[in-house]
């Protein structure tokens, strides 16, 4: 045997133990301690001049003890965070089919534009005459959002989708209060994302649930039965979290409006309809848009996002500050509730909004244009339906018929196999894919919600299909143990989440303290 085949013969079989290394490292995968565990006291990664002598004016409240930060040089820190990055899956690495997250490619031009000093190195409270270009950019973004949605107004300060929901529901409550009819309930479909009822609660509303009908959409009759003089709004997602367009949406809007309530739409799934359908034409009164979903601003490991809210004319007067108005001498930020902004609900955030995300989103919008954006929705819907037909015979499709930009399966195909949705997802990780969304929406059992987005090539989708089909074959072969052992090839195997919740360790502490905390 030559060296190559000798190496192969030592390769661990699936399910067997990996070859142990001396360091615990595995090739490019490095076991990297915390920065606190690499302290060289006195070291640092910056060179700063010694300040000239001065008389301290800190009011006698100088810090008495050290903060406790570790000392490292720049090379060590660059290496530390580089090694950490290598343990992460990302859109840049592969398909990220998380339903309702819209994990599309993050164009690098966005990053370049956001870093132009004229956008990155300007302070929100410089004299307005010195930031006209920044206000113009926000105004341009507002124009694109209003045109794409058909709505007359937009509130730009919310920092994320959930923040946008809060904004929208607050304007609704303000409008109803101004009518002298505050009402007390908000209706939310069973399939709604958790932020919807959490938002309603935060605004002082109680939450009523609307069941789905057999075709996975809002049960119109059930909705009508629950609408009444105490209902302030319906919060709907369209397309919904089952990936289906609410085909009765015009009737829904009419019923809601006839009952004197407002129609809020969660715009998380706007990617399915951008450029082809305008929410205003669906009877929607308020819609938040996740710029970090539909408009490609990067997810960054959990944020930051941006959740501007487009508003109907009746809600526009209540939009939070600041407002942008066009004056004779340029753009103006209106920062106080006076004059035309008299009824503004106040502020939802410090300063003006997520400018860094505005620049990125506008860069994306201008790159695609009206034709490109329409193509985005079409390709997103095409890709999802392609996955639907290529997987419907091996997975359990929850709702027959066409889907929009995402497709929902459930765990009936795993019945009596001893393999759960979770196990299946973990096995998919070993195949090199981030799993789809699991266990959401709650309207089906063991949900698997797949959203490929438009930036996946057909070849990428075919690879994914092959992996999923292969895994289903292994399911049918009764290979439950292998599934329960997955993932095996990742930087970490399955982690003990129970103990993490029972005995939370939420920060590093020096050695003896850490052991005490764990007991």
């Amino acid at each position: 045997m030559n060296d190559w085949s000798q190496a192969l013969s030592h390769h661990p079989a699936a399910g067997g133990e990996a070859v142990a290394t001396i360091t615990g490292n595995r090739g490019l995968q490095i076991e990297e301690p915390l920065i606190f565990e690499q302290d060289s006291p006195g070291k640092c990664g910056v060179d700063l001049p010694e300040p000239p002598a001065f008389r301290s004016r800190l009011g006698g409240l100088e810090r008495k003890g050290p903060v406790g930060l570790p000392g490292l040089s720049e090379p060590q820190i660059v290496r530390h965070y580089t090694r950490l990055s290598q343990k992460n899956y990302a859109i840049d690495s592969g398909l990220y089919p998380l339903g309702s997250c819209t994990m599309k490619h993050n164009p690098r031009l966005n990053e370049k534009m956001a870093r132009l000093p004229g956008f990155a190195d300007v302070h929100p409270l410089q004299p307005q005459s010195t930031v006209q270009g920044a206000i113009e950019l926000i105004d341009t973004l507002a124009h694109w959002l209003k045109t794409l949605t058909g709505m007359p107004a937009v509130a730009l300060s919310p920092a994320a989708g959930a923040h946008g929901e809060l904004c929208g529901v607050m304007t609704i409550r303000a409008a109803l209060t101004a009518r002298g009819d505050p009402r007390s309930r908000i209706l939310v479909p069973e399939s709604a994302h958790g932020t919807n009822p959490a938002t309603a609660s935060a605004c002082g509303y109680s939450v009523g649930s609307i069941p789905a009908n057999k075709s996975g959409r809002v049960d119109l009759a059930a909705l009508k039965a629950k609408l009444g003089p105490d209902v302030a709004a319906l919060m709907l997602t369209n397309p919904n979290t089952c990936g289906l367009f609410e085909n009765e949406i015009l009737d829904i809007a009419e019923a809601v409006h006839q009952a004197g309530a407002f129609f809020y739409c969660d715009g998380a799934n706007f990617n399915a309809i951008v450029g082809r359908v305008r929410p205003a034409d669906l009877g929607i009164d308020a819609l938040h848009i996740n710029l970090h979903k539909t408009f490609s601003t990067p997810h960054g490991g959990g944020g930051p996002g941006s959740g501007p809210v487009v508003l109907a004319a009746e809600l526009a007067p209540y939009a939070p500050l600041p407002w942008i108005v066009h004056g004779t001498d340029g753009f103006k930020l209106v920062e106080h509730a006076a004059g035309q902004a008299d009824d503004a609900i106040g502020r939802l955030k410090g300063f003006h909004g997520q400018m860094g995300m505005f620049v990125r989103a506008l860069t994306y919008m201008m790159s695609h244009g009206s034709d490109g954006l329409r193509q985005v929705a079409e390709d997103a819907v095409l890709n999802a339906n392609y996955l639907r037909v290529r997987l419907a015979d091996v997975l359990s499709l929850s709702f027959p018929g066409i889907c929009m930009h995402e497709v929902l399966f459930d765990d009936r195909f795993l019945k009596d196999t001893g393999i759960s949705t979770l196990d299946f997802a973990k096995a998919l990780i070993d195949e090199g894919f981030h799993p789809m969304t699991m266990y959401f929406p709650l309207v089906v059992h063991g949900a698997l919600l797949i959203e490929p987005t438009e930036t996946e090539s057909k070849a990428s989708l075919d690879q994914f299909v092959a992996a999923v089909r292969g895994l289903v074959e292994r399911v049918r072969a009764g290979d439950a143990v292998a599934f329960q052992a997955a993932p095996q090839f990742t930087p970490r195997r399955r982690l003990d989440e129970t103990n993490a919740a029972r005995k939370p360790i939420l920060r590093w502490r020096p050695e003896p303290e850490q052991r005490q905390a764990a007991e």
């Binding site: 990664g45 990302a90 870093r115 935060a202 605004c203």
Partner: protein, 448 residues
Amino acid sequence: MRYLPLTDADRRDMLAAIGAASIDELFADVPKAARRDGLVDLPKAMGELEVERRLSAMAAKNVAAGSVPFFVGGGAYRHHVPAAVDHLIQRGEFLTSYTPYQPEVSQGTLQYLFEFQTQVALLTGMEVANASLYDGATACAEAVAMANRVTRRNKAVLSGGLHPHYRSVCETYARFAGNQLDAQDPAPGGGEDLAGRIDSDTACVVVQNPDFYGEIRDFTALARICHDKGALLVVVVTEVLSLGAITPPGEMGADIVAAEGQSIGNALNFGGPYVGLFATRDKFVRQMPGRLAGQTVDAEGRRGWVLTLSTREQHIRREKATSNICTNSGLCALAFTIHLSLLAEEGLTRLARLNHAAAVAAADRLAAVPGVKLVNRSFFNEFAVRLPRPAAPVVEKLAERGVLAGIPVSRFYPERTDLADLLLVAATETVTEDDIERFAAALTEVLR
């Protein structure tokens, strides 16, 4: 279109596989009345060069802080961020990854969040911190909501020294949640009796340190009074770098710290995205909003991290969640973590001293301008001066002379004529002696 991988041939093949004659068939559920056959009235697709040209034109209309003497603060501060930070956060595995819901392939994110949480706890002198909120102002509002939950009361007393945007956000949140606020009016340079306003309905007292005008105070006595009366002390910090120089809130007896982390790792960005820091005591951890990275072991006994205590959050608790927050400020938190790691103990202390030294120099030089009086007894890197005339027009004139001289307090309180002659001035390590001299010279000229 460069971002769309599908070719027309692909689309044809895929439609055939689906059994649809055209893409329109896949949109059949859209009501006819809402279908748009044509394009929306917006420009068509553009190449990179054209997009760059247009956006650069907009950017060029703004005066970048680095191009002039710059003294603007008011809750967002211009600091030098080492070059390595921006390179590292742009690694695709950080930039384009998602919330670490699948921990086996997200250990990079989870480990840095654990480091971030530790750094925030150390800086603030508190026991536990979360993985970030949107910004300092919303963190402040969340702190009030949390204090309400912990004490089962629903009134908050707000100091007049609290940043007016933070006060405004608290007011908005409280109004819609049905909670009460007792917000004191600003009294720069003066005192206020917060202890006297605590009653049996008070869930918390909210103070800021250094306050909006830069004044630094010891809140240890107030913390004791709050606790005696069953209320919590919330301390807000808008310039997190100050924690490298002054006693942290944790050592004064704070129960919750809500802070803005922008100063470390993040550019001014015209107001966002920033990063909200949130820290508290271990005993309150289950009432804390936001994500938490926790340490655990994997199936092979190796240390790793997961998101934990998730039952506080909206995706599980829905209407009973501690907050509706989902997306936070992940990448900004990473920038914070990397920058602070580079600073280390030595660098943080020295950087804080440089900031204070710059502010001392600026304050002394400005106070020497005829008619200008320093308001503060103490300050870190921001202070207030009283001018002999309304400050807003002075700031405009100084801008025309190429100096960004700070923020007139009237921008925040237009109706308070008694505050109209106050100017907030910040001086960080990016300010030079020459900048200060140019500011003083221009100010002298404008006030003549």
